[in-house]
């Protein structure tokens, strides 16, 4: 169980983790599709780059974001003793 004195530090770390997870993802989600038209002239693996980044790219970014978040947040929980005792 988490100590009372640890709660503040734990929440600060959690907040920073939330922001570092969501802000780059949000930025990619907004920016990548906007440049799709321009990037469609270039090709990667035979796929138009704009479509590739907006479709495959963003979906992969979403999964990697989530996977990294789960592991990082678990590490933060354990570091501060806030994890569940299972």
């Amino acid at each position: 169980m988490i100590e009372w004195s640890e709660r503040k530090a734990y929440w600060r770390n959690t907040k920073v983790q939330m922001l570092t997870t969501l802000l780059p993802f949000l930025l990619a989600l907004i920016v990548l599709p906007l440049y799709a038209e321009v990037l469609n002239d270039k090709r990667v693996l035979g796929i138009a780059l704009g479509y590739f980044l907006a479709c495959h790219g963003l979906l992969i970014i979403a999964f990697v974001t989530m996977a990294v978040f789960v592991n990082r947040q678990d590490a933060i929980d354990r570091w501060h003793g806030a994890h569940e005792d299972i």
Binding site: A54, V70, H83
Partner: protein
């Protein structure tokens, strides 16, 4: 703390059970294929693929009955991360994600990504911002979470009334699409199929509530995924020699783009706020697949993606799921699985659309109107495709396609046996059923827990809670079936309205309830009502033609309004009491007992103690 470790609650044989189920379903599909070759009538095959899976889901639903409150509303908190993610993903997509979204990809190409990306991003937002905290709290419904989190029963009632709006809209959208798929399978009228569908769904939910819904939902998810991936993979093998439609459709897209240029499909561009999605029914193919922002302008694209994400993240249908995992860590993991499964589906849907467009561009467009391939003629005969005003040769302008029929038309066009068409239809029907069951469960829990029992201070006995939820489920099922028959609207539009309401009303309040200590009950009530009001009036103005803002994007206006109202009202009213802040501090830490379970346990102890 419970005497047994929580990981031990998870049934270790789940994988075996669902392996057996998947084998049974594949055997059913293979049997349909064999019977077709043996010359069994088409009608018998259709009914086999319609009723066979329903019997399987129904058996799973009816064989997991329960009278325990924790089992009925939270599946006993023993759903492992993968299965929770599976059900979450297919519920988030639903019939709209499978049938309508494929059609939107087919009709407007790239621009349809705004919906898909929004769905996927919504699950990321939910996993980071909301789900772990709601799991730690452990309430069975969102209004009951808000009511207890702010210790205010008025808020609980208001939230229940407000959140019923997106729930009912989603149910109305899904029942239309499930009935649409069922109509294709059985050949009966859509109204009758809506009634049959809701009867099946309520039979699957009533016995064990969340427990039935989770396990039959996992089965439906398996069927939906198999039925989507198998035909697409075979077509990918035919077209690109690699059985990976998700990764190889890009190369096919290059061929398609060249062909579309040759056949004279225009490159249109739209103004930044244009939002022109294909409606239900026959729609022409206006523009090239690859071209961005031809039907949905760039600003509308970003707004749609963000609004869909917020709507999915705060969707009351999906947010009852985190409560059923064994721990907060498992909840986060289940969202990871959900994102992965949704991503695989969202990479397969454009592949289906691209393959069908390619077949159309190669075999129909540019050919003489009197020498069209047999598959196109049969699509025309079943009113899926239409050819109007064709000159000597067919052009893109002459052809229009039924939006919701694209997913299963691919099997027609590829020349597969009819059993593949029925397989695709059974998959789409399964996805619709999964979303309907989740919506029905969410709505009945909301109705019985928060509206009927919500205003009383004491918790009613277990039997009464489960019983009233069952009665509510039947009531909601009847109302949904009636809605589908009485008010047939475009399901995609209803889906967007539902997302608009959950994005505008629920999202700001839920985010603030976890991430801002100063939020109080008045702020939450103001946020809920403002979000609802602004969204409803935007939809009304847009639908009556008084305002050019597309009604599907109403949530993009409602969300900032709801957020501002919640923050300003919270700042203008007294700060929350010490007790409320303590509850928040407990939610923020994963360790320790689930708050709601502890509350119920203490209540039970108190009622047993001699007075």
């Amino acid at each position: 703390m419970a005497a047994t470790s929580r990981t031990r609650l998870v049934n270790p044989r789940l994988g075996t059970y669902f392996g057996i189920f998947a084998a049974a379903f594949v055997a059913l599909a293979l049997m349909a294929l064999m019977l077709e070759q043996l010359g069994v009538s088409e009608r018998a095959l259709r009914y086999l693929m319609f009723a066979g899976p329903i019997v399987l889901y129904g058996a799973i639903g009816l064989l997991s009955p329960t009278r325990e409150v924790n089992d009925f509303f939270a599946c006993g908190r023993r759903v492992p991360a993968f299965f929770n993610g599976l059900v979450l993903a297919v519920t988030a997509l639903g019939g709209v994600g499978f049938l309508a979204l494929t059609g939107v990809f087919f009709a407007i190409g790239f621009d349809a990504l705004c919906i898909g990306l929004g769905l996927c991003a919504g699950l990321v937002f939910m996993g980071v911002l909301l789900a772990p905290f709601l799991r730690k709290f452990g309430a069975y419904t969102i209004p009951s979470y808000l009511g207890r989190r702010f210790e205010n029963r008025t808020l609980r009632f208001v939230a229940a009334v407000v959140l019923a709006v997106p729930l009912l809209l989603l149910l109305a959208a899904e029942v239309r699409l499930a009935a649409y798929a069922a109509t294709w399978l059985t050949g009966q009228s859509e109204g009758l199929m809506a009634v049959v569908t809701m009867a099946c769904v309520s039979a699957m939910v009533i016995g064990g509530g969340m427990r039935s819904q989770t396990w039959s939902g996992s089965a439906k998810a398996i069927v939906a995924l198999v039925a989507l991936v198998v035909p697409a993979t075979i077509v990918a093998l035919m077209v690109s020699s690699l059985p990976l439609p998700q990764m190889t459709h890009g190369n096919t897209l290059r061929v398609l783009t060249r062909l579309e240029g040759l056949r004279g499909l225009p490159d249109l561009s739209a103004s930044v706020l244009t939002f022109d999605l294909p409606g239900a029914g026959l729609e022409p193919l206006a523009r090239r697949f690859i071209q961005a922002f031809g039907s949905v302008g760039s600003l509308a694209f970003v707004l749609t993606a963000l609004m869909t994400a917020a709507g999915v993240a705060a969707s009351p249908v999906l947010l009852s799921r985190p409560g059923s995992t064994p721990s907060v860590h498992e909840t986060r993991k289940s969202l990871g699985w959900a994102v992965l499964i949704v991503a695989v589906v969202l990479l397969t849907l454009p592949a289906v659309a691209i393959y069908l467009r390619l077949m159309l561009a190669e075999q129909v467009i540019g050919h003489p109107a009197d020498r069209l391939p047999a598959w196109f003629l049969s699509l025309q005969k079943s009113a899926i495709a239409r050819l109007d005003g064709a000159g000597p040769t067919v052009t893109f302008d002459n052809v229009s396609f039924d939006r919701d029929a694209v997913l299963f038309s691919l099997s027609f066009a590829a020349g597969f046996p009819q059993a593949f068409v029925y397989l695709a239809l059974a998959g789409a029907f399964a996805a619709g059923l999964a979303a309907l069951a989740a919506g029905l469960m969410g709505c009945s829990a909301l109705l019985s827990e928060d509206i009927v029992h919500g205003l009383r201070a004491e918790v009613p006995p277990d039997g009464l809670r489960v019983g009233s939820a069952r009665v509510a489920a039947v009531g909601v099922a009847v109302a949904t079936a009636w809605l589908a028959v009485a008010a047939p609207a475009d399901p995609l539009k209803l889906f967007f309205w539902s997302l608009s309401f959950s994005a505008a009303a629920a999202f700001p309040v839920l985010i603030l309830s976890v991430w801002w200590k100063r939020t109080n009950a008045w702020g939450a009530i103001a946020g809920l009502l403002t979000g609802l009001g602004v969204t409803a009036s935007t939809i009304f103005l847009s639908e009556t033609g008084a305002w050019t803002m597309p009604s599907a994007l109403a949530g993009a206006l409602g969300l900032p309004a709801g957020l501002a109202a919640a923050i300003i009202t919270s700042l203008l009213t007294p700060a929350p009491s010490r007790n409320i802040v303590n509850i928040l501090q407990e939610i923020r830490v994963p360790g320790g007992e689930t708050l709601y379970d502890r509350e119920l346990r203490l209540l039970r102890l108190r009622s047993r103690a001699p007075s």
